[in-house]
Symmetry: C2
């Protein structure tokens, strides 16, 4: 590693956020909500890469959220290096391409992060970044592998290969969201990590990998940025050009195909807050195992997660219930079944 170059954080704010309905809605998705702390998840993400090692972040987001994002970052005294406002969602690989081009496409390392995850042990995260940097400088694409503590079926897994530097391993292979038995087997066997969707690589190396494995995507992103409208830090990529990009995730389009791909296994209190159950699991609980937030009157409740930003919720004698009220909607479901929220979303669409 030569003279340390500053790392450019790239925060992806693309999620539509149906999994935490009714709080999370297209006009105000999860990352813009304060679900785990006083700050919103976007603010927590930005604060996680403050300090002199990092530049101001590049944020890639839905144009509809531009004002809100700038306000939220201003509120924590953070600035934005560039705010790339996607004309439509095309999944993560094209979004990161826009960011890599906005970053100048040079040697500088990009730290790519979703905007709506929790990391409680920031020191461990920074140590993992530090461990990865020498290989990143050498051109490796690095992903962070979350040490699993349960046989989760909602995440992709990474099989960890040989160690190629202190704390850094080759990726043996990526494994799609597994069935329960496979997840249990991987947990028992060890040597696997969750794919947390956090990446570190040089901008030029990412664009090079796109050139090799997804050239249509690269061309579309380049043209969209060449024709972009710019105003202060805001960049509006050209809609027609960007629409020609295939929609694909960075995992499928790049990481699973590239050759020099490494993983840094890390245990850092990571949680993707992908469901109300997940949020319950990381929330402060009272003696009865309840987490109540907002106007809640609870009598004899046990292991309940109750949250309201509007109506008053009164409960007596219920157990293991998730209740979320927001705007004109109230969601009620049993603990452990919050993935089934999609059934509600489908019913709402009909």
């Amino acid at each position: 590693m030569t003279e340390a170059r500053p790392i450019i954080p790239v925060i992806l704010s693309g999620g539509a956020g149906t999994r935490l309905w009714p709080m999370s809605r297209p006009e105000r998705p999860k990352q813009l909500l304060a679900l785990t702390a006083e700050e919103t998840m976007l603010q927590l993400t930005a604060k996680r890469c403050g300090g002199e090692r990092f530049t101001a972040p590049i944020v890639v987001a839905n144009a509809f959220h531009a004002d809100e994002i700038e306000q939220q970052l201003a509120a924590i005294e953070g600035s934005v290096r560039a705010l790339v406002l996607e004309p439509m969602g095309r999944n993560t690989a094209p979004a990161i391409a826009l960011a890599a081009i906005a970053a100048g496409g040079g040697h500088d390392p990009l730290l790519v992060m979703p905007s709506d995850h929790v990391i409680t042990d920031v020191a461990a995260f920074h140590a993992a970044i530090h461990a990865a940097l020498p290989l990143v400088d050498e051109g490796w694409l690095v992903t962070f592998g979350i040490t699993p503590d349960a046989p989760e079926t909602g995440y992709g897994y990474i099989r960890i290969g040989e160690e190629i530097a202190s704390g850094v391993h080759k990726v043996d292979r990526f494994i799609e969201k597994p069935p329960r038995e496979a997840a249990e087997a991987m947990l028992a066997e060890g040597g696997h990590a969750w794919n947390g969707g956090i990446f570190l690589f040089r901008a030029d190396m990412y664009l090079g990998a796109l050139a090799a494995h997804a050239p249509d995507m690269l061309v579309a992103a380049q043209e969209a940025m060449a024709k972009a409208r710019r105003e202060g830090v805001r960049i509006w990529p050209d809609e027609e050009a960007f629409a020609r990009s295939p929609a694909d995730s960075i995992d499928y389009a790049v990481m699973e195909k590239a050759t020099r791909v490494a993983v840094v296994p890390v245990s850092m209190g990571w949680n993707d807050v992908g469901s109300w159950d997940a949020l319950h699991a990381i929330s402060a609980l009272d003696d009865g195992g309840n987490h109540h937030h907002g106007e809640v009157i609870a009598v004899d409740t046990k292991n309940c997660f109750v949250r309201s930003d509007g109506v008053r919720i009164a409960l007596v004698g219920v157990e293991d219930l998730i209740v979320v009220a927001s705007g004109d909607d109230v969601l009620i479901l049993p603990r452990g079944r919050s993935q089934e929220i999609r059934k509600i979303i489908e019913a709402l669409k009909r």
Copy 2:
């Protein structure tokens, strides 16, 4: 029985209605809500005593509800003989005294009914009234005894005595709300009925019983009516005079003390709708045992009672739950525990 005199219905609209919170509230108690049909419970009560046998009813109510009561009765093309607007609640015995005086205090029979009960078999109700009339003419105070079908602990019971006319029995004794075992024993033994709070007696005989057993109450009611303000059908009894009346129920003040007290046992689909569980029990259910009313999206729900007049309620995978949303409040409790709503009301007061 001589030439049949018309019966004067007396509808008592005094309930504060906390048991069906949050739909029922002091400003809009149960009797003014449409809970069991398109019509409100007050409207159903008034319609139950339409026809040439009955005069227009005397309604005794809280002054705050005067406009709403007149509008509701006008909407079913019913008129009011008198609308007695109590300056404060003093329980049923004084309320009925006001009505008996408003009725003229003569020989005409009064049919006293709570405004918030359900009777599905109106023909059986009318037949019971018909059976009672000869004894009423002779001066008896008659109560209707509901044939019990479960060991309810929330009602008073009547021990049925000897038959003194076809279908009419002496009251052996009144029994206060019993413990579970006593209720089960009475159900097993037979010969007992629930005290449904519906009465038939001559106005003069009721006032005479008050003179004998609760003279302070009678004097207070007479003075309150003598000094009453009147405007059309509306009567405002004098507040200072009425305040001097003891507060007591007709059961304690009169029925349990008078000597010529009869009961007509009747099975007429009666329900006092005294809790959300009670309403669930008499509501139309879907195949899953659910009753949903208002904006409700339910997926995989079973035996749930869900009712909203405001926010949208979305449920997945819940069973045996009562959910009621009204105004800015949502109540959630398990089936079978709706009596515990009082714990919420207490918590709200604190």
